[in-house]
Subunit: 269 residues, 2 copies
Amino acid sequence: MSVVAKAVDLLGHFSREAPEIGLSELCRLAGRDKATTYRHLSALEGLGFVEQNPATKNYRIGPAVLPLAELREATVPRRDGADAPLRALAETTQETAHVAVLSGQALHRLIACESVAHSTRAVVDLQQLPLHATASGLAALAFGPADLMAAATAQLTAFTAHTVTTAEALKARVAQARQTGFAVSPRGYEDGIHSLAVPAFDQSGQLAGTVAVACVASRMTPELERRIQRGLVQASREITHNWGGTVPDPLEALWRLALPLCTQKELAR
Amino acid sequence: MSVVAKAVDLLGHFSREAPEIGLSELCRLAGRDKATTYRHLSALEGLGFVEQNPATKNYRIGPAVLPLAELREATVPRRDGADAPLRALAETTQETAHVAVLSGQALHRLIACESVAHSTRAVVDLQQLPLHATASGLAALAFGPADLMAAATAQLTAFTAHTVTTAEALKARVAQARQTGFAVSPRGYEDGIHSLAVPAFDQSGQLAGTVAVACVASRMTPELERRIQRGLVQASREITHNWGGTVPDPLEALWRLALPLCTQKELAR
DNA sequence: CAATACGGGTTCAATAATTGAACCGATCAG
DNA sequence: CTGATCGGTTCAATTATTGAACCCGTATTG
């Protein structure tokens, strides 16, 4: 693991729930030495990636990420295209919806959108989604480039008792996703969370990202699952369209088969 | 210079003009070894900070910066507060306007807004603004924390023949800015560019950033300078207000003195 | 009000990571 | 075919990273 990775990993511990973190706490979270963590933070501070709250001495994300994000959006304007459909998805499902994008062999969170309908809800605070343990990852494996499977099987970390940890089991899950058109990861990454995901595509016709709903497991019912699937399909179609792509016909066929009760408008596409 | 800094410096070479850069070209731009640059890029790619265009093998800014920027905005929503006033400033001055924020001892670009009125215009592609050579930097030195001066004099790089390169000359410029309420850097960073800047403040009452207009030098007239000054004052007031701060009374007094013809509405504040 | 625990920040020798010249195969222009 | 340029790789030399121990200021506590 390079220093760059170690330093940047620190950034991943900041979240909406913990937007400012002190040195010692960050050491514990990162599981690293205090001196090392301090030097990494200092380096990041010099670059503007973090800054210190002068009052509390706590660290928080710095301003240097803003022009980079602006440039990213100007170069590859994905977020804009995903934003509105995602909000609609969170609205209709009343659960947390999120979109991730594939970059190389890794799946990175692009946006998360939490529904405010329930007091308990899933929180997606990961930057990078494990391929084998999340619905998004399974969707990427099932509908994305073939070489992803190698990257996934190389690191089958067990996050819960339900996490898939063998190559065989993973292949079975992926096959199931290919058959049904939906990737599911029941309690695979977090114990109380049941996730469903579908792929999204860009102008190249290849998988560019995934759309997922992370649902509080205890609320899951067959009826809710239907609603989530319907929402996912609609969101994926819209996001794919906004990204300049089209959903492959075989996948569209699967979705139509799985959701016979979808509206006439959707069928008309 | 730490590896982290070297790696992240690579990100600074991407711009709206060069959103995708190949390995060799980036080596030349960064002035570093090809193997090193490649490893740095690979590390950044693993973190999602850059990605490769699969078609051209060129590198571009990756998606990992997006959630970080989102979080930054959620933690310290500066950009939102600066956006609208900056557009107005670019509109009234017909020149390029930009806002930078102070983080530690460094001034980082937050937004730039180019007016489309002229075919030639200034382009602000810096991530970090040198304190001694830009109007923004001088504004920060004049109205920001005292310890900035030490950081500025430590690195008096000459960018043009007009750049201030002695501590004495720098002090004189800063004193002038303190007296007039406006920082000016005529051709200090780029030869054809004449810049003016004023400070902006946040809820702590301290300088939080700067507002500047970078003007094509050949267009500069006393009349245009007046218009720019008036625009800067208005923008700084609005941005400072949006950031939860207030412009210090002594500075407001200087501005009123310098701009006797400002509108009644502005005087009413 | 000592005693103490915990916060951020620093030091220095041991060590593990970074470095870059040279090299490889592919591609392209002349 | 030749030479130039591209992205990517190798390996020994070296350089920067590492972390236990330490410092100081400030809450917390019995």
